[in-house]
Amino acid sequence: MNSIITYLKELFGGIKTLLKGMMVTGYYFVHPRSIITQQYPENRKTLQMFDRFKGQVSMPHDENNLHKCTACNICEINCPNGSIEVISKQVEKADGKTKKELDTYIYKLSMCTFCGLCIKVCPQDAIVFTPEFEHAVFNQDKLIKTLNKPGSSLKEKVKEPINII
């Protein structure tokens, strides 16, 4: 007799737990407002990324096409993956002195792991993370980017680079 009672208890207890589960899924079925999916390509215009989002490294230029990079190479040294290559040139100044200046700032996005060390160590805050996230290209070569814009030059009155090595 006891075994029959436990048998029935198991049966009805089991059915009860199953119904409980169905209540949860049933609730969401009749509440279409709980849909959380984002309609991605359609919401491109309204999609707002967080300001700190590490999309890609970029070099801000002001309205006069001036950047702040002094070509000090600290970012290149600190990058764990070798995704930054700073090519500098010697420029003769008006007062006759030659000075090192940035020629091309090459950023290999395909090798970047977004660790943020380059931005943290930059003494001039010349590079920042921008929240672009659509990196898909058809050719891998397109992921090698030049961050300084053509014809840009160094902004005056930046701090002198600190030699840390």
Partner: protein
């Protein structure tokens, strides 16, 4: 009793008569057959496409998603696009597979489900064949499909498929019983095995209401067992994608896979329509004793809609099961059948017989 305004019997007879009068008997038969064949084929394809779409939408809403929404408004052409894609896909031959059985399997699953549809009464006079052993016929044909599953798994030369097929075999030999026995319960109440008579017997009230508790229990058992028989979750052990990748149809590609996919949904449709026919009165409108006005309004809804509506509700319940529960293990599946469903079912038949004997049913 109210006059049924949607009786199609006379229409059928009229078509039959006109054809046979105007043409020689042989050609009349051929044309009639073609008409029926094309009509059922269209119906079959449409239902299949619709059910795939419905399943995707239902599961999407349950899972807080939108579901297909790109092809056509609300994604309604998604399944058609999918079908065309599957039709154009490459059929990959498998090394050392049993070619003949491998190709035979999709035939069997589709033929089984298509033949089962023939006996279903969609409305008054709207059925292809009205057997006097209709219940038997449906049971027999719908369980044929599993032979296709077994063949598919066996012939694929794939270990996952073979395990899936073996599971499916064990599953079918068990759950066939419960389906049959829960049908017996209704046959006792109806006193006939002809599907049209069973529907007719529910004119005054559906069996699920008039049959007291035994009919309710029989309905639950039928739903559970037929979900298992159609290899749907939570009883989808034969395909069990987290264990056997895709089970018996792992090696099927392109349109051959599409047939298994279609057959799964059609089998679901068939068992749901049997459930609606046996328990929910088939195409019979909802009548409440004494409410003459209400009953008349209900009569104006065409029987086909009644029938489809009931079937869809049963299908929805089966989808709801699938998207809520985890999958059972093979030994638990058999335990559920042999230790729970079968004894309860036997007991239920006795209870129903007693009720009928004592005249307690409505």
């Amino acid at each position: 009793m109210t006059f049924n305004i949607y009786d199609l019997t006379s229409f059928n007879q009229w078509v039959d008569k006109t054809l046979y009068d105007s043409l020689p008997a042989f050609w009349a038969m051929i044309i009639e057959m073609t008409l029926i064949g094309v009509a059922f084929l269209l119906f079959y394809a449409l239902i299949g496409l619709f059910l795939v779409y419905a399943e995707r939408k239902v599961c999407a809403f349950i899972q807080n998603r939108v579901g297909p929404n790109r092809v056509g408004p609300y994604g309604i052409f998604q399944t058609i696009a999918d079908f065309i894609k599957l039709l154009m896909k490459e059929l990959i031959p498998i090394n050392k597979a049993d070619k003949f059985l491998f190709n035979l399997a999709p035939f069997i699953v589709i033929i089984a489900s298509f033949m089962a549809i023939a006996a279903i009464p969609f409305g008054l006079g709207l059925h292809a064949i009205d057997f006097n052993i209709g219940v038997f016929y449906v049971m027999a044909v719908s369980s044929l499909g599993v032979i296709g599953v077994l063949l598919a798994g066996w012939s694929s030369n794939n270990k996952y498929s073979l395990i899936g097929a073996m599971r499916s075999g064990a599953q079918i030999v068990s759950y066939e019983l419960s389906v049959g026995l829960s049908m017996v319960t209704i046959v006792i109440l109806a006193g006939s095995m002809q599907l049209s008579t069973i529907v007719e017997a529910q004119r005054d009230g559906w069996f699920i209401f008039t049959g007291h508790v035994p009919a309710l229990i029989a309905f639950l058992i039928f739903i559970i067992a037929s979900t298992a028989e159609t290899n749907r979750g939570p009883f989808d052990l034969a395909e069990a994608e987290s264990e056997l990748t895709a089970g018996y149809h792992t090696e099927y590609s392109g349109i051959k896979f599409a047939f298994f996919f279609l057959a799964e949904y059609m089998n679901m449709f068939i068992v749901a329509s049997i459930a609606a026919t046996l328990f929910w009165g088939g195409w019979m409108p909802l009548h409440i004793g004494g409410w003459a006005g209400f009953n008349t309004v209900m009569d104006y809804i065409p029987p086909f809609f009644w029938y489809m509506g009931k079937t869809m509700v049963v299908i929805f319940i089966m989808m709801w099961f699938k998207w809520t529960f985890p999958r059972l293990r093979i030994d638990q599946l058999l335990k559920l059948e042999w230790k729970y469903l079968l004894p309860i079912n036997l007991f239920n038949i006795i209870l129903m017989a007693l009720i009928v004997l004592l005249g307690w049913h409505f």
